[in-house]
């Protein structure tokens, strides 16, 4: 057992639990777990103050594998447990681990409202665009026409875009990363951890068994160089092997341009902190075949944080009136019966 004196710096090993990790060999979840276990000791938060809460699905086994407090709850409801916990204990750092089915199908309502309230929790949405634990049915992010066990003739449903949902819910921190982009994921997770309000991180994750290569347009080495747009605050949007391509706005429509022809000064510049989510939304719509896929932080704005507003109300109320229960009992009209039989 590691020495746990409070000042001893923690290491990755401190966050590895004694449970056998039971994902399929080659699952993208391993890489996310490894990166998380690398990020956690860097945060300077004692292990006992960190809680992972999940719902149901492959990704939701996550809390068993990190050596912190945790709850493996019921399908789709993790954000609700996290909300209650954060309001009871604002001192804790609370992570929610969910998937495209857990977070966007059965738990879509809770995801929306947790983000809308800006509860200070970090939601990691593992998006593999398939139901893995129930063995291969289509999910809310599966593509139109995708053949799965429950859509043998092709899915007739339009997929939902998790980043767009988060923008619609006015989330204060929205990011996307990819299971195999280790350094990138590290930075994104850290940014999410350090954000004061609610954070949603979509992690494109490969299900090797039921939806292998669903993200190959991002993860194949060539594609990664050609078709991924790394968002950086304050920087012009450039991508391609030699960063030779860029994004320019034509009216309200983005265009892919050749940087040498268009001029770098005419490219769209990323602004995570924009008060309006317009730019983030425009970016969320980009993807193959006409556009590169943006990864990184779409939006990071400061907004009032739910549990802090709650605590502020408690403090204000306690400043205004003493916590006097006896006085509360006697509010309104009371009368006294002096002794038995008389009054």
């Amino acid at each position: 057992m590691t020495d746990m004196t409070p000042t001893a710096p923690l290491t990755r090993k401190d966050f590895v639990s004694d449970q056998d990790v039971r994902w399929c060999p080659g699952c993208g979840d391993f890489a996310i777990l490894a990166q998380m276990q690398k990020v956690l000791p860097e945060l300077g938060i004692p292990r006992e103050r960190i809680v992972f809460i999940s719902g149901i699905g492959c990704s939701s086994r996550f809390p068993y594998y990190v050596n912190t407090y945790g709850i493996h709850s019921v399908h789709g409801r993790a954000p609700t447990l996290a909300t209650g916990l954060k309001c009871a204990r604002p001192d804790l750092q609370v992570w929610v681990v969910t998937g495209d089915g857990d977070g966007l199908a059965i738990g879509g309502n809770h995801l929306l409202h947790a983000l809308r309230r800006n509860v200070g929790i970090n939601i990691l949405l593992f998006n593999n665009r398939i139901y893995g634990l129930t063995k291969g049915q289509y999910s809310p992010t599966s593509e139109l026409g995708q053949r799965t066990k429950s859509s043998p003739d092709g899915s007739i449903e339009n997929p939902v875009n998790p980043i767009g949902v988060a923008i619609g819910a006015e989330a204060s921190f929205i990011a996307r990363t990819v299971d195999v982009f280790q350094a990138h994921m590290h930075d994104v997770l850290r940014r999410a951890a350090e954000h004061s309000g609610g954070a949603l991180v979509e992690i494109a994750q490969n299900c090797i068994i039921f939806n292998d290569r669903a993200w190959q347009h991002l993860t194949d080495p060539d594609a990664r160089r050609e078709h991924v747009l790394y968002l950086e605050h304050g920087k012009p949007m450039r991508f391609g092997k030699k960063l030779e391509k860029g994004i320019r706005l034509n009216g309200v429509t983005p265009q892919v341009v050749d940087v040498s022809e268009a001029g770098e000064e005419n490219l769209l510049v990323h602004d995570e902190h924009a008060a309006e989510p317009t730019l983030a939304y425009l970016l969320s719509r980009m993807g193959p075949p006409r556009f590169p896929t943006p990864v990184g932080v779409f939006r990071a704005v400061e907004k009032p944080v739910f549990e802090r507003l709650l605590m502020a109300q408690l403090e204000e109320a306690q400043r205004r009136s003493p916590p006097d229960l006896d006085a509360l009992y006697r509010q309104g009209e009371t009368w006294v019966v002096e002794e038995e039989g008389e009054r």
Binding site: R49, I71, G84, R89, L314, P323, E333
Partner: protein, 622 residues
């Protein structure tokens, strides 16, 4: 005041009021007529005066049904007495009808020879038609033969009283309920000071309305005193009550105060997570005003979220509670089951209403007992308690938390619409008199097992985040005994199911024996639970006074039952359960104790009448 035996006096105001022991009044009118306010004021005044009081509002689910319609009638029933009261009363002695629709709906409740006071101004052709009256019932000689009819032009008298007040016609008309109140205050010789003071405070910011209501109140009283239009005049002496400070309280108010108190006794914040639902919303609203007591109310996006949030807060070490009604429990049941598996302490309040489905949102029923006991997948036991009266909601919810914390389990509290809205005097405690609630959070890592158990109670330890070296992961998958790790082992699963069941059974080790009121053995035992307590107790007392061999057993603990229950059931030739469902408790008692328990049921959205129970018992006794 001397006790008077003679009948109503004809000379009205001049004569001394006739003394009565108990009176039941029913105020009825259109939703907009202010009958709830009138009833509440009359109750408070009577309670402050020293009567025992029991009230029952009856209002439609529609916020504003069409004016004058039968569906829009709102009523407030109250009884006040010079002795202890347990029910809002059976037979109505005075019916106040502010319009024809109210008369139509509630006239059947008025006892023969009772008093009808009607606002004759509202008996217009249009209103008569809306209430399906072909002719004006106030002019029907048959009505006058059955009851004493007093047709009072309340709207006109109100307008006359307010001739000098600078308000528009509509605003003046709205004051007429204070005329009614003033008139009834005169009729029952009530002091008016507390209502005068209430008007002063309530309308302090709108002086014209304040003045108008005050004037109308006085006008109503003087109408009774001087007009001689009512040839009756009564008084009800004070009741004998235990010394102390009292206030009027309804069940939902008592729940809110009880919850805040439980948190104080445990030295914890209260987290109340809820989604608005009739008839439980008042609890959320009352608690939302108690931020100064570290009460954290959360209005979540749905019933499911409010159950999830409750679990999260309990995991964090707060006193966590959710409140809802039957339809909400349906949605919460998945997460309640998670709470059973996690073995975390919390309370789930179900203020029952008429079901199934949306059912009768504003009416009362006791038909969610089996849902509370069995409405989850798997073997999923949890303790169930039910308060017996509005004020008892305070004590019961504190006890529910004591059980939750001591035995590490979610606990169901079954209130009812009747208890939620009904009110009675409550002897106010001092917080210092109440026993503190012992809560233990382990900190020692040596030997810590997330699912290790207390040898007495079988409760597992409540280790909370923030405690170094006790990090553990809970979850809905079956737990391995002691370690709490995921286990698919068949023997372990059965062992854990039995442990969870035995843990709940052992709650009974901490319960007092059930006690009967009446003979320890005999012909008939009448069993009740929840809000049927008052009606059943009163009925049994009446039967006992007639010399019948009848006893009453009221059950507060519905799971587990008190240890001596089986023995008690065996001591009577017949056992009957009176409950507002089709025999749910009777069914459980039959299954559990192999007794031929009879059922007396009622599912009309209304509480029992005393007479109904008396009749049912007499039939069983014959």
């Amino acid at each position: 005041m001397s006790s008077v035996d003679r009948g109503p006096v004809a000379s009205g105001a001049a004569a001394a009021p006739q003394e009565l022991e108990q009176v039941c009044i029913l105020f009825s009118g259109d939703s907009g007529d202010g009958m709830q306010l009138t009833g509440t004021q009359f109750s408070a005044t009577s309670a402050v005066f020293g009567n025992d009081v029991s009230t029952l509002p009856d209002f439609p689910a529609e916020i504003r049904a069409p004016a004058g319609s039968l569906g829009g009638v709102s009523a407030f029933q109250l009884s006040f007495a010079s002795h202890e009261l347990h029910t809002p009363g059976d037979a109505v002695q005075v019916l106040v009808a502010m319009n024809p629709a109210a008369l139509k709906v509630y006239l059947p409740r008025l006892a023969a020879g009772g008093i009808l006071i009607a606002n004759s101004d509202a008996f217009t052709a249009g209103n008569l038609k809306k209430a399906d009256y072909a002719t004006n019932p106030l002019e029907d000689p048959e009505l006058s033969q059955r009851v004493r009819v007093y047709a009072v032009p309340m709207t006109t008298l109100t307008m006359n009283a307010l001739a000098e007040v600078a308000l528009d016609r509509r605003a003046k008309e709205r004051c007429k309920n204070f005329f009614t109140l003033g008139l009834l205050y005169w009729l029952y010789s009530r002091p008016m000071e507390s209502t005068r003071e209430w008007i002063r405070q309530k309308f302090a910011r709108v002086p014209a309305v304040q003045q108008a209501n005050a004037l109308t109140l006085e006008a109503g009283y003087h109408y009774g005193e001087t007009a001689g239009a009512l040839d009756v005049h009564f008084q009800v002496p004070r009741a004998r009550t235990a010394p102390g400070t009292y206030r009027i309280i309804n069940g939902n108010q008592a729940l809110a105060l009880g919850l805040a108190t439980a948190a104080r006794l445990a030295g914890k914040p209260l987290v109340y997570s809820s989604y608005p639902i009739t008839p439980a919303s008042d609890v959320l609203q009352d608690l939302a005003r108690l931020r100064h007591l570290d009460v954290r109310t959360l209005q979540l996006e749905d019933e499911i979220a409010s159950m999830g949030s409750t679990i999260g807060a309990a995991f964090g070490g707060a006193l966590a509670v959710t409140g809802t009604s039957g339809p909400g429990v349906c949605l919460k049941s998945e997460a309640i089951n998670l709470a059973v598996m996690l073995e975390l302490p919390m309370v789930i309040i179900n203020v029952q209403r008429g079901g199934p489905s949306t059912g009768l949102p504003t009416k009362t029923e006791q038909a969610d007992l089996l849902q509370a006991l069995f409405g989850r997948n798997g073997e999923s036991p949890l303790p169930v308690l039910a308060p017996r009266s509005p004020a008892d909601c305070f004590d019961t919810v504190i006890e529910a938390f004591r059980i939750a914390v001591r035995h590490m389990t979610p606990v169901f509290l079954l209130s009812e619409s009747f208890l939620a809205n009904s009110a009675e005097p409550w002897r106010v405690p001092q917080v210092g008199e109440l026993a503190s609630m012992e809560v233990h959070h382990p900190t020692e890592a040596d030997g810590f097992q997330p699912y290790g158990r207390d040898p007495q109670t079988l409760a597992r330890p409540w280790a909370i985040p923030g405690t170094p070296r006790l990090e553990h992961c809970l979850g809905g998958l079956e737990k391995a005994d002691l370690t709490g790790q995921v286990s698919y082992d068949p023997d372990n699963h059965e062992r854990m199911c039995r442990l969870r069941a035995e843990k709940i059974e052992r709650v009974a080790d901490y319960l007092p024996d059930a006690a009967v009121a009446g003979p320890a053995a005999g012909e008939l035992l009448v069993v009740s639970w929840g809000g049927s307590y008052g009606a059943v107790l009163t009925a049994v007392e009446q039967l006992q006074a007639q010399g019948k061999s009848v006893a009453h057993l009221h059950l507060r603990h519905l799971n587990p039952f008190p240890r001596n229950l089986g023995e008690l059931l065996g001591a009577y030739r017949k056992v009957v359960v009176a409950e507002l469902n089709f025999g749910q408790l009777a069914w459980v008692l039959r299954a559990r104790y192999l007794r031929d328990v009879q059922s007396f049921s009622k599912v009309k959205g209304k509480p029992f009448m005393v007479a109904e129970i008396v009749d049912a018992c007499q039939e069983l006794l014959s």
